[in-house]
Subunit: 358 residues, 2 copies
């Protein structure tokens, strides 16, 4: 075996020798378990300090079977939604002396699988995952440690889950738009759909995506808008290609008069695209987005948003997970957090209608 690169770290045995006690006794003091006499306790501590002893958490984890860390797999840390949620998670984790290993899935199942495998191999005590795709969840089933789902529920997976009331949020937001007189409303989401949509909402089993669409469609139905499904745009990402697609949509003859965006990244891209097309908000087009990202209040006009309790989302997921880690084994809980709509200035009546309609 190669000499480990670190220059001779101090072990329990070293401390024991220095303090002239057995390894077991030194370990008891250093590990904080068992009973040791005052005298010896002090002696060991002194020896440890003199030698500069640092416990090897890895070795400790090996015997205890607990690593003291949890794994978090999110779609994209760059998305402020996730950074805030992660913040919530790590704040809670730190309070319990647990630390967080973060992994990015880039919203791709394969990357997610690989991340989970690595995390599991690292013996994380628990996992918080934002599943990238709901169709492929075998790898989530196989997870042998406590698992919590963040932001996206999986109906077939009965584990602790924290989401927001996406359906109702989408319903209310869309309702707001129909009330304003809009009839050509688009829902633009970053989620990708394998295959084609066409009303098969049941096929989408990522809760967040499905619930929002369901809410959106319900509001459309209430307003007697037909073929609303046509206006659902999937796969909007940070890429150049999807930006072009948005421009295309905005320049088409029957362009929507109002848009609901699935997150602030999509919304920002939309905002830029709308400008590029020389359209005005809310004169030519109304815009509402999920997530009260910090920038939404400083644009001209400021954007009406669906405010999700993102920090709380992460916090709750972590709390649920940690509770379970501590041995509590009540049945899995599904928490749904409420959202509120913050009305700003990005919603107006469609151009073709008299302004006093609403």
């Amino acid at each position: 075996m190669k000499r480990p690169p670190k220059i001779s770290s101090i072990t329990v045995s070293d401390v024991a020798r220095e303090a002239k006690v057995s390894k077991a006794t030194a370990a008891r003091v250093l590990g904080g378990y068992g009973r040791v006499s005052q005298t010896v306790h002090a002696a060991v501590l002194e020896a440890a300090k003199a030698l500069g002893y640092r416990p090897n958490e890895l070795a400790r984890s090996m015997t205890t079977g607990r690593s003291g860390s949890i794994g978090v797999v999110v779609g994209d840390i760059e998305n402020p939604f996730f950074s805030l949620a992660v913040r919530g998670i790590s704040d809670v984790a730190r309070l319990s002396g647990i630390n967080v290993i973060l992994a990015n899935s880039g919203e791709e199942v394969e990357a997610e699988k690989s991340a989970i495998r690595v995390l599991l191999a690292k013996q994380v005590d628990g996992l918080i995952v934002t599943p990238a795709q709901a169709g492929d969840i075998a790898h989530l089933r196989e997870i042998s440690c406590p698992l919590a789902l963040l932001d996206r529920a999986l109906p077939e997976l009965d584990v602790d889950t924290v989401t927001v009331d996406d359906r109702n949020a989408a319903l209310r937001a869309t309702h707001m738009l129909t009330q304003a007189g809009h009839r050509r409303i688009a829902y633009v989401t970053a989620a990708v759909l394998s295959g084609d949509f066409r009303g098969a909402a049941s096929r989408i089993n990522t809760s967040t995506v499905r619930e929002r669409i369901l809410g959106f469609l319900e509001a459309c139905r209430e307003a007697d808008i037909e073929n609303a499904e046509r206006n659902i745009h999937f796969g909007s990402s940070r890429s150049e290609r999807s930006h072009v697609l948005l421009l295309e949509m905005l320049r088409s003859a029957d362009r929507p008069t109002a848009i609901l965006a699935s997150d602030s990244v999509v919304a920002l891209d939309l905002f830029k695209a709308i400008r590029e097309c020389g359209l005005g908000i809310p004169r030519d087009i109304s815009l509402v987005t999920f997530h009260d990202a910090d920038w939404t209040s400083v644009t001209t006009p400021p954007i009406t948003v669906i405010d999700q309790p993102v920090y709380a989302l992460g916090k709750s997921a972590a709390e649920l997970l940690i509770r379970r880690l501590k041995g509590d084994d009540r049945p899995p809980e599904r928490i749904v957090l409420p959202t509120t709509i913050i009305e700003r200035m990005s919603v107006g009546a469609p151009l073709s209608l008299p302004h006093d309609q609403s």
Copy 2:
């Protein structure tokens, strides 16, 4: 010893027994080292698959002394600057099969110390740190594994470091403002200064903060602006209190006619504060900020920014660190990345001067 919670995970020995070979041989196949005959190799693999063997990375790390992960300590993941840098780091790390353990210091030294201690105990192979304070770096000195500094250099710490040319950036940005005719220019930074400033720039040894201030002061000197130090505002954070302080500054009789902000979070807060005061950009006040955050291009007016190669910053730091992890021990490198100024619409001439001056 308590039975570990995980229900009897499959070990090398189990696989060995199943495949009817010795533990050593099974380990050779599973660990991918040493030489094994074709036949046995296949047999072991089959047995492993049948049993559902998953390697225990912890145990592996224990003997090898390498954990295959690096620790990253940043000030605040919520700050888009850091999320992007972290993204750069993790992208590089993944390519080398290394994973990242993330810790937040909240820009507090004590939290930073504690995070480093935990990370070290977890036997990370290397560390990337954005030191919260430059005065207190004993804990960084003691680090026994490769260390790389991100965004902030420490003159007294000779390790791999990646920064941007803060001084020059601040110089040019400030110069732009003086050229436009401004003479009351404020620099607002999130950094906290222990004690009072008053020209003792040498006392600030966080490179980022010092260099920027130096650049700022140099530009002021060139323009014969006296007492420019007075207009340096420290400790601007996301807190309510600091927002009030900003409002105070903006409402004072000799309020600045132009402001340079140290990061996009500060800038956003400033932007809001400026609005609250009923001031117009750039009519009443000009604004320039470090970091081309996504929102800066969609405000009215869009903000002139100092574009830092943030992703590259993280990427380079990770590359430097990983190179060192692989055994390369050339002397520590200090990389300084260039910045560019993206001129948008937030800079104008001060109100008191005729517009054609510039």
